[in-house]
C-alpha cells in the first residue's frame, strides 16, 4: 500500500463523496474514478432521482399528507373520546367512594387510551424511506440538496401530531419534486402545504376586516409572513420593514388547512378560505397587490422569489452549506448571478456548484451534520444491523439533530462549531464504536480506509487504523477520522 506524502493534492473523489455527497460506499470510489464531476452531473440528469414514489411496494407505509393528517385527526378524536369516557368513569367511581377530595387515587397507568400511534408509525415509515434513499444513492448529491432545502423550509414534528404525521410527506410533496426545478415553484408548494400552514400558524391567522374576523373578533398572526421574508426568501436585514411583514400577513390570510369537519374542503388538504382573507389591495415592498383572493399571495410570492435579496440569500446559504462557513464572496456572487439569470433554476444552481473551482480546491473543513454523519456510517457499513432505522433515529436524537424536529423555523445550524461540540464529539465516539461493533464482516480496516477515504487519507489516520488492536477498533477509528468527519 502506497503511503502518500503530506503534499498530496485534494482527492477529487473524496471531495465528490464528502463535500457534495453522503460518503463512499464500499466499491463506490471505483465508479467515480476518472471523472467525479461527471458522476455528480449524472445525478442531476437522472430522471425523478429525488422522488420517493408511493407506488413502490417498499413504501407501503407512506401516505400523502392529506391522508396522513386525516389519520392523525381521527386518532386525536378517538384519544379525546376515550379520555372523556375514562374521566367520566373515574368521576363516577370517585363520587361513590370518595369522602375526601384530597385523597384522589393516583392515575392508573393502564388507563391510557389505547389508540394506535398513527403519527409515530407514519413518522417511522417516512424516516425509513429517507434513510433508504440515502443508502441507495450513488453519490448522494441530490439527497444532500433535498436535506438543504428541507432544512431551509423546515417544519417541526414537535409542533404536534399533525406535523408529526405529515413532516415526511411535506418533504416528499413540497421539496423533492422541485429540488431540481424552479425556486418559485418550490416556494409556492412549501408555503401552501398544510404542514407549513399549520407549523407557522397561518391556520390561526384571520384578516381583521374579513367576514370571519369581524364575526369572531380574531385577527392576524404574522408568523408565516415573517419567516417567509426573514428565512425563506429575502433574508434578515435585507430591507423589509415591520409594515411589510404585517401587510404580507394580511395578504396570506385565508391560506389554510381544511379542518376535520371538512367545511372548507377535504380535511387535511390545503385550501383558500375567502371568509378569512383580508379584503382589499395591499402594499408589499413598495408594490401594490390588488385584491385577488388567493391570487394576491401567489403574485406576492412570485415577486419575492425573484427579488435580488432572495438570490443573494439563497446563494450565500448554498455556498455556506457546500463550500465553507465563510463562503468566498466570488462563489456567492456567481451563484446569485446564476439564480437571477436562470429565474431560480435550482438544477442550474446545483450544476454551478459542481463547476465552481472553489468547491474542488478549498480544504474540507466543515463538519458533517449528524444526518450526513449517520448516513455516511450506514453507507460505509453496508447492509446489516448497523443500518436499523430505529437506531439511526436514536443516533440523530443523541447528536442533537432529531429528524424533522429543528429547534426553530430557522432549522438546524449549518456551522461547523455547532456540530464539533464537546458533547457531540463524545457521542460520535460512542456511535462509531457501536456502529463498528455491529458490522459483522468488517474485512480489513486498512482496505476499508482505502475504499471509503482513499489515497488522500493522512499518514496519521492510516497509521491509527493500521495499528488498531482489533477490526472493530480499526473501523471505529476510520469512522472518527478527520477525513470521515469533515466535508
Amino acid at each position: 500500500m502506497a503511503v502518500p506524502g503530506p503534499e498530496t493534492t485534494q482527492d477529487e473523489i473524496l471531495v465528490a463523496f464528502n463535500r457534495f455527497g453522503l460518503g463512499a460506499r464500499p466499491g463506490g470510489r471505483d465508479k467515480l474514478a476518472g471523472d467525479p464531476r461527471a458522476a455528480l452531473r449524472a445525478e442531476l440528469k437522472a430522471p425523478d432521482i429525488a422522488l420517493i414514489s408511493l407506488d413502490d411496494p417498499a413504501h407501503a407505509g407512506l401516505k400523502g399528507s392529506t391522508s396522513a393528517i386525516q389519520a392523525s385527526m381521527a386518532a386525536t378524536m378517538q384519544r379525546k373520546l376515550e379520555r372523556n369516557l375514562m374521566a367520566e368513569r373515574t368521576a363516577k367511581a370517585d363520587a361513590s367512594q370518595m369522602t375526601d377530595a384530597s385523597q384522589m387515587p393516583p392515575a392508573q397507568p393502564s388507563a391510557k387510551p389505547a389508540v394506535p400511534r398513527v403519527e409515530a408509525e407514519l413518522f417511522r415509515a417516512e424516516a425509513k424511506a429517507r434513510l433508504d434513499k440515502a443508502l441507495q444513492a450513488e453519490v448522494g448529491f441530490v439527497e444532500r440538496l433535498v436535506y438543504f432545502w428541507s432544512n431551509h423550509f423546515c417544519v417541526s414534528a414537535a409542533k404536534g401530531p399533525i406535523v408529526r404525521a405529515s413532516a415526511g410527506a411535506f418533504e416528499r410533496e413540497a421539496i423533492r419534486p422541485f429540488v431540481l426545478g424552479r425556486f418559485a415553484d418550490m416556494l409556492m408548494a412549501v408555503e401552501r402545504h398544510p404542514a407549513m400552514l399549520f407549523y407557522l400558524d397561518n391556520q390561526q391567522s384571520i384578516g381583521p376586516d374579513s367576514r370571519a374576523g369581524r364575526k369572531r373578533q380574531r385577527g392576524l398572526n404574522e408568523n408565516l409572513a415573517r419567516e417567509i421574508l426573514e428565512l425563506h426568501t429575502l433574508g434578515v436585514g435585507s430591507g423589509y420593514t415591520q409594515a411589510d411583514v404585517t401587510s404580507f400577513a394580511r395578504i396570506l390570510t385565508g391560506w389554510m388547512m381544511a379542518g376535520r369537519e371538512g367545511r372548507l374542503g377535504e380535511p387535511g388538504s390545503s385550501v383558500f378560505n375567502a371568509n378569512a382573507h383580508e379584503p382589499g389591495d395591499a402594499v408589499l415592498l413598495g408594490k401594490t397587490y390588488p385584491a385577488a383572493g388567493m391570487g394576491q399571495a401567489e403574485a406576492a410570492l412570485s415577486d419575492i422569489a425573484r427579488h435580488p435579496a432572495t438570490a443573494q440569500h439563497i446563494a450565500t446559504n448554498l455556498a455556506r452549506h457546500f463550500i465553507s462557513d465563510e463562503p468566498p464572496p466570488a462563489a456567492v456572487a456567481r451563484l446569485a448571478k446564476v439564480f437571477t439569470r436562470s429565474d431560480g433554476n435550482l438544477r442550474a444552481l446545483a450544476a454551478t456548484l459542481i463547476d465552481m473551482p472553489e468547491a474542488w480546491s478549498m480544504p474540507l473543513t466543515k463538519m458533517r451534520s449528524p444526518f450526513d454523519y449517520v448516513a455516511a456510517i450506514r453507507r460505509a457499513a453496508g447492509p446489516g444491523p448497523a443500518n436499523a432505522p430505529g437506531q439511526s433515529l436514536r443516533w440523530l436524537n443523541a447528536l442533537g439533530e432529531p429528524l424533522w424536529q429543528p429547534p426553530g423555523p430557522n432549522g438546524f445550524s449549518d456551522q461547523t462549531d455547532s456540530w464539533a461540540s464537546a458533547e457531540g464529539m463524545k457521542i460520535r465516539l460512542d456511535i462509531a464504536w457501536q456502529a463498528a461493533g455491529q458490522v459483522n464482516d468488517i474485512g480489513n480496516p486498512n482496505d476499508m480506509l482505502d475504499a471509503i477515504i482513499g489515497p488522500s487519507a493522512s499518514p496519521e489516520t492510516r497509521q491509527a487504523v493500521a495499528r488498531a488492536e482489533s477490526r472493530q477498533q480499526g473501523l471505529a477509528l476510520l469512522l472518527m477520522a478527520p477525513e470521515f468527519q469533515r466535508r
Binding site: A420, S421, A422, E423, G424, M425, K426, I427, L429, D430, A432, W433, Q434, G437, Q438, V439, N440, D441, G443, N444, P445, N446, S458, E460, T461, A464, A466, R467, A468, E469, S470, R471, Q472, Q473, G474, A476, L477, M480, A481, P482, Q485, R486
Partner: protein, 412 residues
C-alpha cells in the same frame, strides 16, 4: 522449578483417542460414552490486542527477566508482589482468583505459546487465531464454530449451539453452526483506549476536534464521578474495562449453566495493546488482568455445579517484545501465555518448554520464542472435552495442521 517439557505420556485416554479408535470413533464424543455422565463446557476468551505474557505470568526465576522488562517486571518482593505459581513463574498480583484456582489445581498456564503466525499485525494475527487456519485471510468461519459443526448431529452440544458474547460475534465462533448472541445491557460503552487513540490522531491532524473531544470526555468523566462520587455504582463498561468483563462473564455464566443453554461460548475482551505506560504489578495492564480475573471468578460462581465440567481458555493473537520500549510499554511480539481455568482443567501446572530470555534465545532477538503451539492446546481441549478426533481437528477445525499434535492431558 517445573519446566514441564510437554512430552506426551500416553495415558489411557490418550491411547483411546489417538490410537486405533481414531477413525472408527472419529465423531463420537467422549462424554457420550463416559460413565460419569459428564456434561462438558468450553469457554473461549479472546484477548484482543496481544497480551504481554511476560507481565501476566512473569518468569521471575529467569535471570534475564528483570533486566528486560525493567520497571514493569513482576517481582516476588515489594508492595505489589507477584503471586508465586511455582519456583520459577509468578502470576500478576491483579489475578488472585487465578492464583487460588492454580493452587487448587483448577488453573494452568501454557507459556511461550503462539499460533503459527509470525508477523505482527493485529488483524492478521486475530484472523489466524480465531479462524484456525494456518495463515491470514480466512474470515468466514472460526475454529470453534467448525468444531461445533463437526460434532455428530443430535449431539447435545451441537444441538444447543454456541454462545457469542458482546455486540458483535467474534470470528472464532462465526459459521454454519447455530450461535446465540448476547450482550450485557450497558454495552456498548465508550472504549477508553479508542478515545485515547482518536485523541492522539486529532492532536496530530485536527486540533480543533481534539479540544472538543477532550472536553466531552472530561465532562463525561465528571458526570460519572458526580454520581455520589462512586464510579462503582455505575458499572457500565465496555469489554475493555474490568467491570465490563466481569459483567459479560456473569451473564454468559447464567446462560451456559442452564440445562438447555449453550455448552460452548466465545467472548472477546479488548484493550491489551500496551505500547505506552503498560504498568506491571499495578497500572493499565494489571487493571485489565484484574478484569479477566473477575471474569474467571464470575464463571466459577455462576456456573455452580457445572464448574467441575468446564474448561475456560484465554488466548491472544501474539505476545509482546521481551524488552520494554522507550515509553514504558511493549511492542508487538510473538510468544505469550495461554491461560486455562475451570473445574475440568488438570491444573496447578505451568506447561512450558522455557526458551530463555538471553538475546540469542529470543525470537528475532526481541520476542519470547514460541515453543508451544496454541492450536495444540486448543486441539487438546476439544479432544478431551468433546471427543473430536485428531483427524477432524487437523482437517476441518484447524486445517493443514496435522503437524501440530493435540496437547493431551489438559483436562481431568
Amino acid at each position: 522449578m517445573s519446566l514441564l517439557c510437554e512430552t506426551p505420556h500416553p495415558s489411557r485416554r490418550a491411547v483411546l483417542m489417538t490410537g486405533g479408535a481414531l477413525f472408527a470413533w472419529a465423531y463420537l464424543p467422549r462424554f457420550a460414552r463416559a460413565a460419569d455422565n459428564r456434561d462438558p463446557r468450553l469457554i473461549v476468551i479472546v484477548l484482543r490486542g496481544a497480551l504481554d505474557g511476560l507481565s501476566a505470568v512473569g518468569p521471575v526465576g529467569d535471570p534475564d527477566y528483570a533486566g528486560l522488562h525493567g520497571d514493569i517486571a513482576l517481582s516476588l518482593t515489594g508492595p505489589h508482589a507477584a503471586l508465586p505459581l511455582d519456583g520459577f513463574f509468578a502470576v500478576n498480583p491483579a489475578m488472585p482468583v487465578f492464583a487460588r484456582l492454580f493452587r487448587d489445581k483448577q488453573a494452568a498456564v501454557v507459556h511461550a505459546a503462539a499460533t503459527g503466525y509470525r508477523e505482527r499485525s493485529h488483524f492478521d494475527g486475530q484472523d489466524v487465531l480465531e479462524s484456525g487456519y494456518a495463515g491470514p485471510g480466512h474470515v468466514a468461519t472460526g475454529w470453534l464454530n467448525r468444531a461445533l459443526e463437526s460434532l455428530p448431529a443430535g449431539d447435545r452440544v451441537a444441538t444447543l449451539g454456541g454462545l457469542a458474547v458482546g455486540p458483535s460475534t467474534p470470528l472464532v465462533i462465526r459459521g454454519a453452526a447455530p450461535v446465540l448472541g448476547w450482550a450485557p445491557q450497558s454495552l456498548p460503552a465508550p472504549a477508553r483506549d479508542l478515545a485515547a487513540r482518536v485523541l492522539d490522531l486529532y492532536q496530530h491532524r485536527d486540533p480543533a476536534l481534539a479540544v472538543a473531544l477532550q472536553k466531552g470526555l472530561d465532562a463525561d468523566r465528571m458526570a460519572l464521578d458526580d454520581q455520589m462520587g462512586a464510579k462503582a455504582i455505575n458499572p457500565k463498561g465496555g469489554l475493555d474495562s474490568a467491570a465490563g468483563m466481569r459483567q459479560a462473564a456473569q451473564g454468559a455464566a447464567k446462560l451456559i449453566a442452564a440445562d438447555d443453554g449453550p455448552r460452548v461460548a466465545a467472548l472477546a475482551f479488548d484493550g491489551w495493546d500496551t505500547h505506552v505506560n503498560e504498568g506491571g504489578a499495578t497500572g493499565r495492564l494489571a487493571t485489565l488482568l484484574g478484569g479477566l480475573d473477575g471474569a474467571f471468578e464470575e464463571f466459577e460462581k455462576g456456573l455452580g455445579e457445572r464448574w467441575k465440567d468446564t474448561a475456560i481458555v484465554a488466548i491472544t493473537e501474539f505476545g509482546r517484545t521481551a524488552q520494554i520500549n522507550g515509553t514504558v510499554g511493549t511492542d508487538h511480539g510473538t510468544g505469550t501465555v495461554v491461560l486455562l481455568a475451570g473445574g475440568a482443567i488438570k491444573g496447578g501446572r505451568v506447561i512450558a518448554d522455557w526458551p530463555g530470555l538471553k538475546p540469542a534465545q529470543l525470537y528475532e532477538q526481541r520476542d519470547l520464542a514460541p515453543t508451544s503451539d496454541v492450536r495444540g492446546v486448543l486441539k487438546g481441549l476439544l479432544a478431551d472435552q468433546f471427543g473430536l478426533s485428531a483427524a477432524v481437528l487437523s482437517d476441518k477445525v484447524f486445517p493443514e495442521s496435522s503437524a501440530v499434535k493435540p496437547m493431551r492431558d489438559l483436562v481431568t
